[in-house]
Amino acid sequence: MAELLGTFEQAVLLAVVKVADDAYGRAILRGVQDGLDRDVPAGAVYATLDRLENKGLLSSRLDTGTLVRGGARRYYQLTATGVSALNESKSVFEQMWRGAKWPLRWQT
């Protein structure tokens, strides 16, 4: 069974998927904020990117910088393990909710 991911890890991986070829730090940060619809600190995203790469769910490469920023960008992409883990996590969450009517309502 592939690794079960936390919510924020899924948000980061999905941002990498959605941003696709432009998946470098700043774009991923904005993608996570759009996906979660809230402000997210950069440190949390970079820490998660690093952790996911160490787990083998992401790979990264350095690319050239631009005139605006000067320095290089680090681009990320999902590995096969990352794709598997993301698919498994979605499947598990859907299975957990099966039988429960959404949205839940509090009853006395």
């Binding site: 470098y24 600190p41 950069a42 440190g43 690093d50």
Partner: protein, 68 residues
Amino acid sequence: MNPQTPPSWLERLLLWLLTSRDRETISGDLLEEYREEQLPRFGRARANYWYARQLISLPSYAFGEDHS
């Protein structure tokens, strides 16, 4: 003082916090966001505040798992 950059002391602190692996990439990401989004959209004071908040969020990354 370059109006297109955050306060130099914040930049120096950021570079100190980051490892050699990330110094160029993360500082470049934050500078790009500062110049292209935060500064034109919100003005210098709020852009500087945004930059400082990102910097404060980094120690959890810089002093967390070994990522050298």
